[in-house]
Symmetry: C2
Subunit: 331 residues, 2 copies
């Protein structure tokens, strides 16, 4: 049994202290202080930095109760303790919340081998949300079998302004999170072509349908109902209204496909790669390998447009695809 659980209370450590990590800490700390099944204290591992003032970031967080660099102006709660020592930060925890940038996860996990409690539970928060300002937002916690563990996490995160739901469909939730970025590219193309809300809504719906159909083809366990959760239709809407995938695709279409995605990424994202374009390529490879290209005209078309084989306008030329679409409809 983990030390944190000796008393029967769960002890939470946040691994990461960027913008979204700090938001998670604030939100979780407001719950652990209220709920009897959690230790009040929440430890937050801080990748140490020296601020322009010469002070250490972790010291300033502990003194001011604010992450002055990544979430200025928001009090984290006095029960949040910043800790620059990763090993020390996790050693007593029996619930770990990972909120570091994706590319650091690998290195961090390697450092944690043998350092965490055997029965530790972990959750990964992939995307940021605007909830530090206490505006209504939502999230989905995926789980495989143990509903109690999932409900414990739900308890930890739920606040009056943050609705969290446990869904027994890990694959469905993860595929929603990945595939929505491809649909966002399609939505951005429609924006760039200035085709209006009807067309955009149609593309988003067809995208949602392809997300569902592909997920179910890949994993028979995937449930239709998952796509009605926040990870499905709500995240899709958010990503297609805002988001960098949509934005860069809009610029791509405005240029008539003359500027490449590589080019626009370099300019608009300082060289970071666009998730939706990478995912569209991976999806295309899977579809191609399995002989499913004709079943997923939207996904296929996004990739073909992104590599310059089709013009941006192809995203709304579904005439030739109509018979294919009806196949997807049956899934």
């Amino acid at each position: 049994m983990a030390p944190g659980a000796v008393s029967g209370k769960s002890k939470v450590t946040i691994v990461g202290s960027g913008n979204w990590g700090s938001v998670a800490a604030k939100l979780i700390a407001s719950n652990t202080i209220k709920l009897h099944s959690f230790h009040d204290q929440v430890r937050m591992w801080v990748f140490e930095e020296t601020l322009p003032s010469g002070e250490k970031l972790s010291d300033v967080i502990n003194r001011t109760n604010e992450n002055v660099k990544y979430l200025p102006g928001i009090k984290l709660g006095k029960n949040v303790i910043a800790d620059p020592d990763l090993e020390n930060a996790v050693k007593d925890a029996n619930m770990l919340v990972f909120v570091t940038p994706h590319q650091f996860m690998d290195g961090i996990c390697k450092k944690l081998v043998g350092k965490v409690n055997k029965d530790v539970e972990a959750i990964s928060l992939i995307k940021g949300m605007e909830i530090a300002l206490e505006q209504l937002s939502e999230a989905t916690v995926g789980y495989r079998e143990n509903k109690d563990i999932a409900e414990n996490w739900v308890q930890l995160f739920t606040t009056p302004y943050f609705i969290v739901t446990a869904v027994q469909d890990v694959e469905g939730i993860e595929l929603c999170g990945t595939l929505k970025n491809v649909v966002a590219i399609a939505a951005g193309l429609v924006d760039g072509l200035e085709m209006g809300n009807n067309t955009k809504a149609a593309i988003m719906r067809i995208g949602l349908k392809e997300m569902k159909a592909l997920s179910k083809l890949l994993f028979s366990s995937v449930k239709d109902s998952t796509f009605f959760e926040s990870c499905g239709v709500a995240d899709l809407i958010t990503t297609c209204l805002g988001g960098r995938n949509r934005k860069v695709a809009e610029a791509f279409a405005k240029s008539g496909g003359k500027r490449s995605f590589d080019d626009l990424e370099a300019e608009m994202l300082q060289g970071q790669k666009l998730q939706g374009v990478l995912t569209a390529r991976e999806v295309y490879e899977v579809l191609s390998y399995r002989g499913w290209l004709e079943l997923f005209p939207l996904f296929a078309t996004v990739h073909e447009i992104s590599i310059g084989h089709l013009p941006p306008l192809a995203i709304v030329k579904y005439s030739e695809y109509k018979p294919r679409l009806s196949l997807v409809c049956k899934l």
Copy 2:
């Protein structure tokens, strides 16, 4: 057998010649001329008007092939014949497409009693779309039992830029069309409160879920899959992005609820009543009568806000509703 069907070919008449009626005529005429199962000619009943030039509207349409008043600049197709005589326009038809404003339907139907063929099929197009410019758009044809009849209508409407799907769920489709306006009010309130896309997407998703749950409670025949069709998620998105319900609700929230919907309707809609507000009241009455108010916090809250019993901000205060929401999730 209807005269139009003697040859085995279907004969189509459009009842109505406003903006959307003219769009429907153009779209249908482009199909009847290509499909062997339809007569080329499409008759369009025109509510006769005298134009400023002194000419009759129907004469000008037949001369120029354009509805110069309601769809200027768009050729309807030479096989569209404008006919100001309702009885004459329908007498040979075996497929009727109704596209008049809602309030005229009653009078028109009374005039048609005994004047139409016994085996005539009819369809009603309730909402307008932006397809005259040939931008990709979608629609759903609902049917009860006869899939062949539904597919015949699908054939008549489908074009490369207009994706039409037949769905065996009349009640589901109609409830989507009605209830989405209540969700649009909620989305407009979020816009007025300037709460951002995450919150708006969350509200739209919760609204979609309540739409599905209420439809299924009212009619056990309603299918989940209907909400993935264009009548479901796509229409909902369109209505929550644009649309008058959203717009007036935004203004209402911006005023802090100080100006009434009646007032704003008078100013912004020249006194026309907002569909979403009327529907919210009807839904509230049904929920109240059946003891379901707690199951549908979003629908209930929209009504309570619209009559001034709750402030606009109540739309995102779901804390007290959380236990209720989880009930809806099970439906």
